[in-house]
Structures are given as structure tokens and as C-alpha cells.
């Protein structure tokens, strides 16, 4: 029920509405709950409303943190499984 999706604003269609795209599907939604929506912004969509903008910089940071995880652990496991 709290299902929400990241979608991209592709057009502003009114004071409080916008068209968004998800994988090429286009839908009109309300942007009344977010400040200053712009074309190209990604927003979190829930039951027809944008609930927040996705912060691109923070998203980059998350992906960078993820890229740094687990490399050592995998190397350890590989070493443990390698024949002596």
C-alpha cells in the first residue's frame, strides 16, 4: 500500500499537475505536495501524488557507498575456498 515509485517529470501541465514517465509509460499526476517541480526532476510517486523530489546528489552518494561495499569480504571468501 505504501508502494511508491521513482518517476521523471517530462512536462508541467498546470499549477499543480505534471506528466511523468516510468520506463516510457506516461501518466499525469499531482505535484501539489512538492516545491518547485521542474522538467527532468525525478520524484517519488504515490497514489497519484509526487511526495518528494529525489535528490540526485544523495543518490550518487548512495551508489558510491554501495560500490565500496563487500569487495574485501568477497576476496576473503574466495581465499577461504581456494585450494591450498
Amino acid at each position: 500500500m505504501c508502494h511508491a515509485l521513482p518517476v521523471k517529470i517530462i512536462a508541467l501541465t498546470g499549477p499543480d499537475t505534471a506528466k511523468v514517465s516510468l520506463g516510457g509509460i506516461v501518466k499525469e499526476i499531482s505535484v501539489a505536495l512538492i516545491d518547485d517541480p521542474k522538467i527532468g526532476d525525478h520524484v517519488v510517486l504515490h497514489v497519484g501524488y509526487a511526495l518528494a523530489k529525489i535528490d540526485e546528489a544523495e543518490a550518487e552518494r548512495t551508489l558510491a557507498l554501495l560500490a565500496a561495499e563487500g569487495g574485501e569480504a568477497l576476496a576473503e571468501f574466495a581465499a577461504a575456498e581456494a585450494p591450498p
Partner: protein, 377 residues
Amino acid sequence: MKHLDEYRDAEIAHRLAAAIHSEAANSGRRYRLMEFCGGHTHAIFRYGIEDLLPANIEMVHGPGCPVCVLPTGRLDMAIRLAKRVGVILASYADMLRVPGSKGQSLMKAKADGADIRMVYSTLDAVKLAEANPDREVIFFAIGFETTTPPTALAIETAAKKGLTNFSVFCNHVLTPSAIAAILEAPAVRELGTVEIDGFLGPAHVSVVIGSQPYEFFAEEYRKPVAISGFEPIDILQSILMLVRQLNEGRAEVENQYIRAVTRDGNVRAKQAVSRVFELRRDFEWRGLGHIPYSALRLKDEFAAFDAERRFDEPYIPTEGIKACECPAILRGAKKPTDCQLFGRACTPETPLGSCMVSSEGACAAYYTYGRMREAAQ
């Protein structure tokens, strides 16, 4: 799809799983982590995330499924409202098949002639009222804090448009109250101790309320919280964060979903909610009993839009089935397979308890995606 595909990446999952194994393995302790939100429960089973975790990490499924925690008596009220002459009941799809008392449901009432319309958004319900001035349109509102701002906006829009035929049957509930109820667990002797070591915080509730409300739980109960995005990589990263906190003896609120959640949340959304709604002193939750200050109702100035005040429908509480283990399962004290009814009399097609009625309930998610594990045992 940007901001989605990256968080379903197999290679990242593999590395995170390795890190989790490595850091959880040598501590010699168990980790019981509750994912509060039904959406997380669904994702955990749909992606088979538990297959990537070591045996000493156990995911405990929480009550964060608004369909699951809605008492049957409240659904019965909605069905009775829908059957009234001249009423159009607008509802999210999730509620349509949920069984009420005496084998009724909104779907069955519709087949019997009640005018029930599925809507994707509250704005569709307002449009229905505008398009049908001679009918009473009642919107069946359910959901945690994620879903409440859209209802608030719909009511304000209806007020601005001067609509006199639109009302809301409000069943919005609050997350922090439910978390507190789990941690307080007054019926611990009855249902068994619930030892939960940490929480995966809900993704989209937190987008609205922010990370700040969870700080109380971390400080007061010394339980770490990791607010987690919805995708499998988000969930794995959050589990790793909780394992680290527990290993290091920390009990903080960490925000894994930093791309969408801030400490204050969505101020505009919160303001809309506080303009329109106020706290109910008491509300009954299916499976969790009465919880004070855990639900919302419309403020007096919006009384004309409150279906409970507009229509005189009594709330008639109902008894759960004796053998149904939902109360214990919703608190995380028992698992779906601990219930005698699970997979036999109680299935997604014939749900007997709240954990099976919604696709996000622990029993429904386990049955739909994970019941081959039981067969193997």
C-alpha cells in the same frame, strides 16, 4: 528505469551479501530485525532476500500494512455505506476483495448492485463527486502517513470547490504509535516475548514524516533504526547498517534512503495533514487491539466532509477467529508457519485473518512467494 534498476543489481547484491555474512558471522550473536512496513515484507519475499542472509539474521515481519490492521468492523461500515441508496463509494483497489463479516466484501456488494468504484488517486474521487452532483460520493480512506496527505488535499480541494456531496470515511493510522505498541507489548505473557534488536524503518512514511520521529525509539528503547528504501539493494544495505550498529553497540537512527528522506520530511505534506486532521483519542487495530492516539479523524471545521458524522453508521467490533495467529504474527512473536490455519483453511483466495488479506501481509507474502521453503522442511 532510473533510480530503480540500480537498486536491483545482482552484482551489488552479491557484494552486500558477502559484507553482511562477513560482519555477522563472527559476532556469535543473533540478529532479529523487524521490517515494519508491509512493502518491505513483500520485497523481502518477492526477491528472496533471506536467501542472501546468514542463518543468524532473522527478519521479523511487522504490522505496517494498513489493509491488514484495519478492523473488520470498520470495513463492515464501509460496506454498509456503499449499500446506501444514492451513494458512490470510491476505494483504492487494495480494499475491494478483503472479506468483512458474514462473507461480505466490497467486491461482493458491487456484484449485488452497490455502486463501488476503484480509484487510483483521491483526486479521482473528487472528480466523481463533481461529475455526479445528485449522488453522495464517499471516499474510503486508508493508509499510514504516506497516504494521508493525498486525502487531506482532496478534502481541501472539495471544500474550495464548494462540493456538498463529497465525504471521506477516514481510517488513517500512525506509524510511531504502532512501533510503540510493538515495543510496549503489554500482552507479552499471552503472545510470547518479542525480542527485536533493530528496525528497518518504512521508506515512504519516512519521506513524509522525516527521520526525526524515530529518534525517540532509538534513544528510549536503545534499538537501532535504519530507514530503508524499497528496493532489494536498499534493504540489504539497511540490514548491513543495522548489523554494524549492533556490533558496535550503537542505537541511532540512520537514513539509508537519503535520496528521498530528510530529517524533517515533507513539510508541505505534514502541514496539509495538520490543517485537516486531528488525533483520535483511541482506535482499534486489527491484531494489536486498542492503541491511544494512533489514528486520525477530520477536524470539526471539515465536519461536512466527514462520512462518520454525515452518515449515522455504528461501529460494531467483531471477534477474530480463535485459531488465527494474526495478533502474534503482527507483533512479530510468531511466524506464518506457526499458525495452524496457514495454507490450509487460510490462503490468499480464502483469507481468514488480516495477515493474509493483503498482498503485503506477512502470511500472504510468504504464501505467494516463499511457501516452497516449508515444503522442503
